[in-house]
């Protein structure tokens, strides 16, 4: 005869990912590279935004990017136009990046030769929120065409992010984008988050955001080399 009994175990399901992410973060710290991950919905303009970011940082900094995509290499091809080193992580059917995938992709890279590394996650506002990639800054991108209440629909990913960028501002008037409502919904799910409003296409607002990144790099290195 057998009787059911309850035994306590306490196992964090994502422990392996968390351990790998911690190792990556330590690797980034010792290399002095500042790592930004980008999350957004599909079609929010993430690749254009990243392409402009890489291009405009390049005169002053050594930059590179890892790009997660479900099946194609289109994004990597587009980003390669920036002349920065770009590597594609094709995730197949997986809807998010995991720390081990980042670790594998970086195996043959000399991180010490970089100032900034950008990790573009798969276009998805749900799944990536569960996985720490060891990044120093998680940037959530939304475009004015997606509507002001996007943060309220996907609170977990906005809450897990460090900074928000609202892009495609050149279309704001055409879609009657309500900036105050957008600010309110972001602040509601992630109080105190810094928000940049810009247009990757026209370049409007890019400078403030790029200056912010430069400042983050300085602070990262000041802490890393104590």
């Amino acid at each position: 005869m057998s009787e059911p009994r309850l035994v306590e175990v306490r196992r964090n399901v994502l422990k392996q990912n968390d351990v790998t992410a911690r190792a990556l973060r330590e690797q980034f710290r010792t290399a002095g590279v500042f790592v930004v991950s980008l999350v957004s919905s599909p079609g929010s303009g993430k690749t254009t935004f990243l392409e402009k970011t890489l291009t405009q940082l390049q005169p002053r900094y050594r930059v590179a990017a890892l790009v997660g995509d479900l099946a194609t290499e289109n994004d990597a091809v587009r980003l390669a136009r920036s002349k920065a080193p770009v590597k594609q992580i094709t995730t197949g059917t997986l809807c998010h990046l995991e720390a081990a995938m980042v670790q594998n992709a970086l195996q043959d890279w000399n991180l010490g030769s970089l100032d900034f590394l950008f990790i573009e996650n798969v276009g998805n506002l749900v799944c990536p929120s569960s996985y720490d990639l060891g990044e120093n800054l998680r940037l959530v991108l939304m475009s004015v065409t997606e509507g002001e209440d996007k943060p309220l629909k996907y609170p977990t990913i906005f809450n897990s992010a460090d900074v928000a960028v609202v892009t495609k501002n050149e279309l704001a008037d055409a879609v009657e984008f309500d900036w105050d409502a957008a600010l309110r919904s972001i602040q509601s799910v992630r109080p105190g988050m810094q928000i940049f409003r810009l247009s990757a296409k026209t370049g409007e607002g890019m400078e403030e955001y790029l200056n912010f990144l430069s400042q983050q790099l300085v602070e990262h290195r000041a802490v890393a080399h104590i």
């Binding site: 196992r11 964090n12 569960s130 609170p155 509601s188 109080p191 105190g192």
Partner: protein, 129 residues
């Protein structure tokens, strides 16, 4: 949907624990935080799929929902958030990002069938050696 890979992680953890103890698992108890980024219904479905052709086939997944608890800097107290759409103290309205609970994704207990014949027990005579 990343719930299938999460479910496979749950099955791996439960199998590992059950094999170490030499027991058969009939149910897995999981603490699921409101901020874990995991959708419960999708997880329940994925769990069945992940259990197929493993010793956990036929076992149940019992999910305990864990609400978000924040620390209110104004009331100086921990408060449960009624909704993850508003990170503010439900008593005084002060915004807060001081999250004390709600990101859990943890297998915390296994319901086991103890089959006396298979139990791994250290004989008393071995304990002192």
């Amino acid at each position: 949907m990343h719930e299938l890979s999460i479910a496979m992680g749950i099955v791996d953890a439960a199998l590992d624990e059950s094999q170490r103890r030499g027991v058969q698992v009939s149910a897995v108890h999981l603490r699921l935080g409101a901020l874990s980024g995991v959708i419960k219904d999708a997880l329940m479905f994925s769990y069945e799929v992940a259990c197929q052709d493993t010793p956990l086939q036929g076992s149940r997944l019992i999910v305990v929902d864990v609400p978000v608890i924040v620390f209110c800097p104004h009331c100086l107290n921990e408060r449960e958030l009624p909704s993850v759409q508003l990170f503010a103290c439900p008593e005084c309205g002060a915004p807060t990002m001081d999250v004390r609970q709600g990101k859990e994704l943890e297998v915390f207990a296994l319901e086991i069938q103890e089959e006396t014949g298979h139990e791994v027990e250290v004989p008393e005579s071995e304990v002192q050696k």
